[in-house]
Amino acid sequence: MKFGIYPGCSLTGSARDYNESVFALAEAFDLEFAQIPDWNCCGATAAHNLNKELSLALPARILALAEQNGLDEIIVPCAACYSRLVVTQNELKKNPELKNRIREVLEMDYHGTSKILNVIEWIDKYIIPKLDEKIVKPFNYKVACYYGCLLVRPDKVLNYDRAEDPQTMDIVMSKIGADPIYYPYKTECCGAGFSVSRTDIVSKLSGKIIEDAEHRGADAIIVACPMCHSNLDMRRSDINKYWKTEYKIPVVFVTQAIGLAIGLSSEKVGLKRHFVEVKIS
């Protein structure tokens, strides 16, 4: 089975750990990826605040390229990219006039036929069915599944299971032996793009997310978004400074946790790249 993959900027940069774990899983389950050739920026949080057409044209170009290359299913590990791509596809489907306009802008054909999967959907569809037989080291930890905002919203477009208390990642984690705790901070804001410009805000918001997970006795926070990861992991020292704390709870990508459970090494799934030391292996 061959999928398109859209790495976006983070998976080749700050989230190489995530990237490595996604590829390691694919390899372990005989799934093959083809990178969308000549891909561009999805527009991230900047484009849709500045120019609507631009914010649609950027993701549309990515989708058009996927179509040109016959990639019917594309996986988008970054939750922010995923959100931009799905929102664009949905908007252009609803509005044929706009679709034509975007085609003009791109000077490319665009149909919106590719199926876009986030990491959880991909795992659910292709990993879970073959997971049981592969588990060698059940992930026996108490985990706080943190979904963040972009994986589940906008509710109407993404049709996530329960917008305010999503369950899919919890279910995946329990399948590899983990014990997902009750965790009301699941979809609270981590500070998102303020990661760069206002680390104080990120420290404040992400600090609360970490505090609640520690307070409830979690061994790890599980994420599926590079942005969440960098705020909770890379910004940990800022957070601890801001709150005068010494939070040590590691932040692990869902793909890394699965990798460990099927016996892949910490290096292989990129755990060594984290800022907060991951003592789980």
Binding site: R162, D165, D212
Partner: protein
């Protein structure tokens, strides 16, 4: 030769602002057979009507067209005026220049041209009108009230006190509705049960009222004054006459873990139960869904212990057929429950409750005998948060309207809490405080100023549990949108009031309209708030929209007056706009070929069979015949009849044809 009079109304400026009424009157005046054409500011006013009456006499008019608003609004007015002017009322037609033209178009020549066309059509039609006589039908002077909440109770008592018979249908085992669950009532804080239960008893004892509880409407046919209603009396599995209401059976029933509806699930009840101690009638019913005998075929303990041998396991449902003259719908409302709110935990926290559950906690007859204790551990909550507008005024939740009663009952709840837990802290998150009503705002001020309830203007984004407390995260918009976090012991949601279950189904049985939210629809939002669009069916109480007790009771009395007014007549007249199957000389009798296709499509079962016999008494032909009493003039049969044997008085094929031709022809 036809002499038609045409009267163009300005409707103040409603029509004249976009239609050149002078030009319409002038153009129409030149048409063939138009003997008189004029315009006036308010045709429906006394001088306007006089104008019509005098013109009829002066110009010897044979037909009248009033070009004004919708016939739904004023057709009766103008037909009556014509009758007073000496013209058969059915020789008067209305052309709708307002809804069909002036309101929906800009001011320009085309609009005026369209207005002229609309009037021309009616001129051509009215030329072919015939003088008709109204149909007279008798009135059955028995009313049916559906729903035994405070609205139904008030209506039933008022009608019964005018000397007419009332049949009350209540689907639960007792009357009383939501008011019987309330603790104390705003704005006076008098005890709900104390003012309600005497009325419930009065209903049961009134010689003019027959009460059927545990009963539902099965079907409704017929029309004003002459409804035929079928009622399903669900089996109570006991003989009500033999049962003394001692309640012994209810104490011995081994099934004890059924969530108690009356306590909003905060208590349990057995399978054989009396819903609450003051229930009317005070007799138990067996809930067959949960009774061990009906599930497993064994038990019958109630039968063994019953001292009067009243239990009847094999009792069937009973269908009653009733003749009814008028119907009052008083089926009330319901509220959303905590599980409707993802942001407040999808109903998984025991200490987040809805308003009715709080009423039960605060009620002396409730599960805690009036002590405010949180459901999870029975502790007295020291911090309590009330969230107003939970679900209401929120199009994203599909409920754009204001539920109207919750601002008031939230103030009441906060007050009751403070009266019982003096040292406790009460917070109310609100959007606006809607306390219009006599002594209402004063009541809310009392909660704030005397009972020190802390009102915070803003919404609550989420509530979650931590260390046995509920963390309420909201915003204070009066403090510049500052985030607020309250660590609470209990949260009460003032959830949206919604249509009662089964409302849609009942509306369809009754052939009355309902709105997008499945509340029953009134005939006119301002001038006919009690009537439905089906004559003889009226509304009372919260089945129309969420309402408090005073509003429900006022409307209920209004509905009773409407019924009494109807019953003050021995006969009703109906418009004779009904279908007729033609009759010709023997041996043909009618062009009807007796296929009875029409019978199968008539929505009102108005088509009967008529046999024609020869001299020997042998049936030679059977044709369709329309029962004038039942026909509603919908015209379905006319369109269907393959031999063109049916026509509709007032809307004959010829008349409709003339209207179409008028539009096609130049003038």
């Amino acid at each position: 030769m036809a002499r038609i009079g045409v009267f163009i109304c300005h409707c103040g400026e409603n029509i004249s602002a976009t239609v050149d009424c002078g030009k319409v009157a002038e153009t129409i005046g030149k048409l063939k057979h138009v003997a008189y054409s004029t315009e006036y500011k308010y045709m429906c006013s006394d001088p306007g009507q006089t104008l019509i009456k005098e013109a009829i006499k002066e110009h010897k008019l044979t037909g009248v067209v009033v070009a004004a608003c919708s016939p739904r609004m004023h057709e009766p007015t103008f037909r009556k005026a014509c009758a007073e002017g000496g013209l058969n009322p059915f020789l008067c037609e209305m052309a709708n220049l307002r809804e069909h033209c002036s309101w929906v178009h800009e001011k320009n020549d085309l609009t005026t041209e369209k207005a002229i066309d609309i009037v021309r059509i009616q001129v051509e039609k009215v030329k072919l009108n015939s003088a008709l006589q109204p149909i007279r039908v008798p009135v059955t002077k028995t009313a049916m009230v559906i729903g035994g909440g405070i609205a139904g109770i008030q209506s039933a008592l008022d009608i019964a006190n005018t000397g007419h018979k009332v049949i009350m249908i209540e689907r639960s085992p007792s009357i009383g509705g939501h008011m019987s669950q309330l603790s104390e009532t705003f704005p006076t804080l008098d005890c709900s049960q104390c003012i309600l239960t005497p009325r419930m008893v009065e209903v049961a004892q009134h010689p003019n009222i027959t009460l059927y509880t545990y009963a539902e409407v099965e079907s409704v046919e017929g029309f004003i004054g002459n409804f035929k209603v079928k009622i399903r009396k669900k089996a109570k599995s006991l003989d009500e006459k033999t049962c003394t209401g001692c309640g012994l059976c209810t104490t011995k029933c081994p099934q004890k873990k059924i969530p108690n509806e009356f306590e909003q699930g905060m208590g349990m009840r057995p399978a054989i139960y009396i819903p609450f101690p003051q229930a009317v009638p005070n007799r138990p019913v067996i809930d067959r869904e949960h009774c061990t005998y009906y599930i497993k075929g064994k038990c019958k303990i109630c039968e063994i212990v019953c001292p009067t041998k009243a239990i009847r396991f094999d009792q069937p449902d009973e269908i009653l057929e009733l003749e009814i003259g008028a119907i009052v719908v008083a089926t009330g409302f319901d509220i959303k429950h905590a599980d409707f709110f993802p942001e407040y935990g999808y109903g998984k926290y025991k200490d987040i409750i809805d308003g009715l559950q709080f009423e039960r906690l605060a009620s002396a007859s409730g599960p805690t005998t009036g002590a405010i204790l949180r459901p999870s551990d029975g502790q007295v909550p020291k911090n309590i948060v009330f969230i107003a507008c939970a679900g209401s005024r929120d199009p994203a939740k599909g409920i754009a309207y204001c539920s109207k009663i919750c601002c008031m009952y939230t103030a009441k709840h906060a007050m009751l809490y403070k009266h019982k837990v003096h040292e406790g802290k009460a917070y109310v998150f609100y959007m606006d405080i809607r306390s219009g009503g006599k002594n209402y705002d004063e009541f809310v001020r009392r909660a704030i100023e005397e009972d020190h309830v802390n009102y915070i203007r803003g919404r609550v984004s989420t509530v979650f549990e931590r260390d046995g407390k509920l963390i309420v995260k909201g915003v204070d918009t009066l403090l510049g949108a500052q985030p607020v976090e309250i660590v609470a012991d209990m949260v009460v949601l003032a959830t949206a009031g919604v249509a009662n279950s089964g409302a849609e189904d009942l509306a369809q049985k009754l052939h009355v309209s309902y709105d997008a939210h499945k509340f029953f629809a009134e005939a006119h939002p301002k001038l006919k708030p009690i009537e439905t669009n089906t004559a003889g069916i009226f509304l009372a109480g919260a089945c129309q929209n969420p309402k408090d007790i005073p509003d429900s009771v006022s409307q209920a009395s209004g509905a009773a007056v409407k019924v009494a007014g109807l019953f003050s007549q021995n006969e009703l007249t109906r418009e004779p706009l009904v279908a007729v199957v033609n009759r010709t000389a023997p041996p043909m009798y009618s062009t009807c070929v007796g296929c009875f296709m029409c019978q199968s499509v008539c929505p009102y079962q108005a088509i009967e069979r008529e046999d024609f016999k020869n001299r020997e008494g042998k049936i030679v032909k059977t044709v369709a015949k329309i029962n004038e009493g039942l026909c509603q003039g919908c015209g379905t049969c006319v369109a269907l009849c393959r031999s063109k044997s049916i026509d509709l008085y007032g809307y004959s094929n010829n008349q409709v044809y003339a209207e179409v031709v008028a539009l096609l022809n130049e003038y």
